[in-house]
């Protein structure tokens, strides 16, 4: 087992652990922390694959900004322990098996048919950030600009929704 594989398994294990913890933790703040664990592990995996910029963004934007926002809201709303109600019969009895089945189907489909793909970072090179930015500002400039409006929408939304009644 090569070192890369070992690192992969460790990180993958952490990610899955985080995900499972997210599910099992009953306090939202713990779930949020579990999710941060998943994100950090994924950032590691991105690095492992050589996607350094994505890894950085993952940590800065996702792990940093977004998750901080989550934690902030949890604190703001003073969310306590999760109330484990079971009003939904369907979700109670069929939810877990079906969700697992779905994940299984996807995993199985991938496992059976993506064998021909070359391993990532087979060329050993990191993705140059310059390449990335070139794409972003030339080929994908239109969605990029659209994203600005998207963020504007989000700002308006936050204002509109969180505004107190006057």
């Amino acid at each position: 087992m090569s070192a890369a594989l070992l690192i992969f398994f460790v990180l993958a294990g952490l990610a899955v652990l985080g995900a499972v913890a997210l599910i099992l933790q009953s306090h939202p703040i713990h779930s949020a922390l579990s999710l941060i664990l998943v994100m950090l592990s994924l950032a590691g995996l991105y690095l492992l694959m050589g996607a350094e910029f994505v890894a950085a963004v993952q940590i800065i934007v996702y792990g940093g900004a977004v998750m901080v926002l989550f934690v902030f809201v949890i604190m703001l709303l003073n969310a306590g322990e999760e109330e484990r109600t079971n009003f939904s019969k369907l979700a109670t009895f069929a939810g877990v098996p079906l969700a697992l089945a779905l994940g299984g189907v996807i995993a199985a489909a991938i496992a059976r048919s993506s064998g021909h793909l070359p391993a990532p970072a087979a060329n050993g090179a990191l993705t140059p950030t310059r390449e990335l930015s070139k794409l972003l500002f030339s080929e994908f400039v239109y969605p990029f600009e659209l994203t600005s409006f998207l963020i504007l929408v989000a700002i308006i939304g936050a204002i509109v929704l969180a505004q107190r009644e006057n």
Partner: protein, 492 residues
């Protein structure tokens, strides 16, 4: 230095509608501090924005833009018109609603315009990334709009449900894109076209895309969110939901599932089954509703089902070299246009009848409308008959073309099941008519319920009715436009 490419002017002209819509959105936000109490002016600007954006389509050249990220063809043109018209009408219809509910106008209109821009992007997207951004633009705006009546419990519930489930579906959509990307190495539809149809991963990816988009257009069983969200959202917003995103998403579905060869042949079974399920769920669900707004929500599910019948025909006809899929495309487009206009009109009436706080939405509140508000009742009848598919209305030709597409593709049983559904539909549409004309209002009619439609709403309803009749009498004018092999450029 990075070799930054300034986009070519022609590319910008191709997205002129989106630019105008977005600019007006920003413009309206900027006006907000100055015109806070001048709702009518804001409405006017919103309408101008919607109209100008629609006019913006006339300058673009047919063809792909932004290095193939978007495709400016007849399909996108058609949907831009549809969206512009719908937005125009929805903004007009919102005027009295915002006044009644005492809501801020500028953000509302800005969000509508942003949403429209997002739908426009969706309609012309040739690249799944663009589509994703467009989808998110329209979706995020929609989430906010759904919860726009902040103090109303139902509105916020509608928003939270829409948001959670919408994001859930988006995740599926994205995962689908990822898989498609993995198999084909691209997210550009033009490049995916020739992908190996036997790849299971591609199949899985397209399936997940179908799940994600099917959620947006409310196909059973992904329709499950629709009644709740439609009921809870402010009624003009519901009108927009039922007309805009649905149409735009169908445009994208058309583009994807006509472009990609891998999604033909056996795929029609997926559409077949989804169509049947959707029609039955929508119609049977509507039969038992007593809330008109919710009933219309169910009916919109049913209509998605009817549209999907034509879809089944598309995927099937693609393999028929003699006829080609164009009649089915035309059917989808015509159906969506007629349906969108009718729905905007119908929801506008419901919004007006609903009164302050949307408190009068049940069938009982519609009782005796025929005498109380003859115009509203007559218009509602016409629109409902169009939804039912009576002749000389848009709905009739819509259904007719769908039937025809289905029969062209020898999907006789699908056509028969659709006929059965039409009969079920007749039952509940007719019930509203019956209540309006044949039953008297029980108890005293509240003072404000007797008030006739506001002028703006009346205009919207008028336009919807006239459009319905126009499409019902001269369907050819529109059909001639969309019956072209250039409809979807990448699908030639």
């Amino acid at each position: 230095m990075l070799p930054l490419q300034i986009p070519h002017t022609s590319d910008l002209v191709r997205v002129l509608p989106e630019i105008i819509w977005c600019s007006f959105g920003v413009f309206l936000m900027l006006l907000q501090p100055f015109l806070k109490n001048h709702r009518q002016i804001l409405t006017l600007f919103g309408m101008i924005g919607a109209a100008l954006g629609t006019l913006g389509t006339f300058f673009g050249q047919m063809g792909a833009g932004f290095s193939g990220l978007i495709q400016f063809d007849m399909l996108s043109l058609f949907f831009h018109w549809l969206l512009g018209l719908v937005t125009f009408l929805v903004i007009l219809a919102s005027d009295s609603y915002l006044e009644r509910e005492n809501l801020d106008a500028s953000e509302f209109y800005a969000l509508i315009l942003f949403a429209t821009a997002g739908m426009g992007v969706l309609a012309s997207a040739q690249e799944l990334l663009t589509a994703f951004i467009g989808l998110e633009m329209s979706s995020i705006s929609s989430y906010i709009l759904a919860g726009y009546r902040r103090d109303a419990v139902k509105s916020s519930e509608s928003a939270v449900k829409y948001f959670l489930l919408g994001s859930f579906a988006t995740a599926f959509f994205l995962y689908g894109i990822a898989l498609v990307y993995g198999v084909t190495g691209s997210t550009n539809l033009a490049k995916i076209t020739s992908a190996d149809p036997s790849s299971n991963l591609l199949r899985m990816g397209l399936g997940m895309i179908l799940v994600g988009l099917g959620f947006k257009v409310a196909l059973a069983p992904f329709q499950i969110w629709t009644p709740d969200v439609y009921e809870g959202a402010p009624t003009p917003v519901t009108a927009l939901f039922a007309a805009g995103p649905k149409a735009a998403t169908f445009a994208l579905l058309l583009r994807i599932f006509t472009t990609i060869h891998a999604a033909t042949g056996f795929w029609f079974w997926a559409f077949w089954i989804l169509a049947v399920a959707t029609m039955f769920v929508g119609n049977l669900g509507a039969v038992v509703q007593t809330n008109v707004k919710r009933m219309l929500a169910y009916s919109s599910i049913a209509h998605a089902g009817y549209t999907l019948v034509a879809f089944a025909a598309v995927t099937f006809l693609k393999t028929d070299p003699e006829i080609g899929p164009w009649p089915a495309y035309a059917a989808v487009l015509f159906y969506l246009l007629g349906y969108a206009l009718v729905n905007v009109g119908a929801f506008t009436i419901v919004s007006e009848i609903g009164g302050k706080g949307e408190s009068r939405l049940t069938l009982d509140d519609f009782a005796g409308l025929g005498t109380r508000q003859p115009f509203a009742a007559a218009a509602m009848s016409l629109l409902l008959l169009s939804l039912l598919g009576m002749p000389i209305t848009a709905g009739f030709f819509g259904k007719f073309y769908v039937f025809k597409a289905a029969i062209n593709s020898k999907l006789i049983w699908l056509a028969v099941l659709m006929a059965v559904n039409t009969i079920i539909g007749a039952y509940y549409y007719l019930r509203v008519l019956v209540v309006m004309y044949m039953r008297d209002h029980e108890g005293e009619v509240p003072a404000d319920a007797a008030r006739s439609l506001s002028p703006t709403a009346a205009m919207v309803v008028m336009v919807a009715c006239l459009a319905t009749l126009y499409l019902g009498l001269f369907p050819n004018h529109i059909l001639g436009l969309v019956l072209s092999q250039d409809l979807i450029l990448s699908a030639r």
